[in-house]
């Protein structure tokens, strides 16, 4: 009986003592870092356009370069540090996806190329792919059904 009361009190104590995340500050940082990453994307876009690539090709060039940059910065250990500062600003752009695939690939190399690199590569990105592709298929079907009428 007494313990139940103390447990209740403890929950209140824990909520008081545990520091809350600074939402406004974190959002501003995410906005800044995420925005800067997008600026780099835009820069690559403009450069490619300047070289006279057609628009369809530019739409492939930009993500390819950004994925490469994400992988490179992951390999040098910079992306993790940037993420500690930028939070969601580094997760949302395509560089974040690249980081999610490359980091376990590097990490689990010690367990071999099959059950290490290949199997663990999708531990973080896997769910994104499953639900990303899954939901796009469902929306595709809904879209198809609607256009029938």
């Amino acid at each position: 009986m007494k313990e139940a009361k103390i447990k209740q009190k403890y929950e209140i104590m824990t909520n008081e003592v545990t520091p809350k995340s600074k939402i406004l500050q974190d959002c501003l940082k995410a906005f800044l870092v995420g925005g800067l990453i997008c600026d780099v994307g835009q820069l690559i876009n403009n450069i490619a356009m300047n070289y006279g690539f057609p628009k369809e090709q530019v739409m492939s060039i930009v993500p390819i370069v950004m994925i490469f940059l994400g992988a490179l910065l992951t390999g040098t250990g910079t992306y993790g540090k940037l993420a500690q500062f930028g939070g969601a600003g580094t997760v949302v752009p395509i560089t974040g996806f690249s980081n999610a695939v490359v980091s376990p690939a590097i990490e689990f190399k010690k367990e071999g190329f099959i059950f290490g690199v290949a199997a663990k590569m999708f531990t973080i990105a896997g769910p994104v792919l499953v639900y990303g592709i899954g939901s796009s298929v469902i929306i595709g079907i809904v879209y198809y059904v609607i256009t029938l009428f």
Binding site: Y10, T14, V17, T18, L82
Partner: protein, 355 residues
């Protein structure tokens, strides 16, 4: 008839003896207190940049120790700690009767892989981050019982091997919350014996119960472990009749800043105030502002290196005369967390005194 009587009498006497050693529900008093005759602490580069830097026996420049995986590096670290302790005590491995050891990795591979290099009878333990006082408890009891002449107790943890097992790959960009703790890279080993000379002695052992106050957040382990620490400390006081002021220092293992504050508040509900004596190994091992370690250090190695490094030296200099070491552990696994289980905590207390 007579033989039966004598036998029963013997049994009664033996039973009486064991009851004499046991005090209250959870504590044993060691009548032949074993001495901690040698220690060795070894830490990673980050711990070496922290406030306790000067107290550690060995600071690594390279946390891989030239090995090709962090798991191998951790095991090597423990191997080195044991070897160096043996050297300091001027003992051979064949002099040691038992080795008590544990760590955080699955199937405690750091410990068993370090133990395979020695020919010492081995007990592998898992008590999460409470393993230092768990191994010291069992080693002390076995010594007091007269079952061994020399025993080694040791633990280790490694930031990188713990991170890849419990959280994310090292280079994955995830933001650490402000209540998260940083696993200490380090290993501490100690030898118990009855050698001549003035050394810190283990006088009481209070074994903790598993306590769960319903915490679910694996990023706030201090809050999950604080109730276990409080329960063990309160039991220790009740069993022994001691009070906080009987100790110079009460050192919890790795509650961190949040858990330490919660423990101080929670223990007041039981009528004790330990704020004057209470320090937390996880809180003092890092400079949290400068080193970005958020709520503090954690891991088996945390209380191991703070005890064998910092506290042991203070005991030897008699700057601390009575110490209660309370290593704390969070007993969850990645599976239990994913299945929505709450995090049970454990804490074991060992009273260490210098005459």
């Amino acid at each position: 008839m007579k033989i039966k009587f004598i036998l029963n009498d013997c049994r009664r006497r033996v039973n009486m003896q064991t009851h004499d050693k046991k005090m209250g529900r959870q504590t044993v008093k060691l009548d032949n207190p074993p001495k901690i005759i040698a220690v060795h602490s070894i830490v990673g580069p980050k711990e070496g940049e922290g406030p306790l830097s000067e107290y550690f026996d060995e600071v690594l420049n390279d946390d891989t120790l030239g090995k090709d995986s962090y798991e191998k590096a951790e095991s090597q670290m423990m191997f080195t700690a044991i070897t160096e302790t043996l050297k300091k005590a001027k003992l051979k491995e064949t002099d040691i009767d038992y080795l008590f050891s544990g760590d955080l990795l699955n199937q405690i591979i750091s410990s068993s892989f370090a133990a395979r290099e020695f020919s010492i009878p081995f007990f592998g333990l898992y008590g999460a981050c409470s393993t230092m006082s768990e191994s010291l408890s069992l080693a002390s009891i076995i010594m007091d019982g007269g079952f061994a002449k020399y025993v080694i107790a040791t633990t280790s943890s490694h930031f990188s091997s713990a991170e890849r097992q419990f959280r994310f790959p090292l280079d994955y960009g995830s933001q650490r919350t402000r209540s998260a703790q940083w696993t200490v890279t380090g290993s501490g080993a100690l030898i118990l014996g009855y050698d001549e000379g003035n050394y810190p002695e283990v006088t009481y052992v209070t074994t903790g119960k598993v306590k769960d106050f319903g915490q679910k957040d694996a990023n706030n382990m201090g809050a999950a472990m604080a109730p276990a620490a409080v329960d063990t400390i309160v039991s220790h006081f009740k069993d022994t009749g001691r009070k906080p002021s009987d100790y110079d220092v009460i050192a919890t293992g790795d509650l961190g800043i949040i858990g330490r504050e919660l423990a101080d508040k929670l223990i007041k509900e039981f009528g004790y105030d330990i704020r004057k004596q209470h320090i937390d190994c996880g809180e003092i091992i890092f400079d949290h502002e400068k080193q970005n370690t958020e709520a503090g250090g954690s891991g088996c190695g945390c209380s191991a290196v703070v005890f064998t490094g910092y506290l042991y030296k203070k005991l030897m200099k008699k700057e601390i005369k009575k110490l209660l070491l309370v290593s704390t552990g969070a007993l969850m696994s990645t599976t239990s967390s994913l299945q929505g289980e709450t995090i049970p905590g454990i804490a074991h207390a060992v009273a260490i005194e210098m005459k």
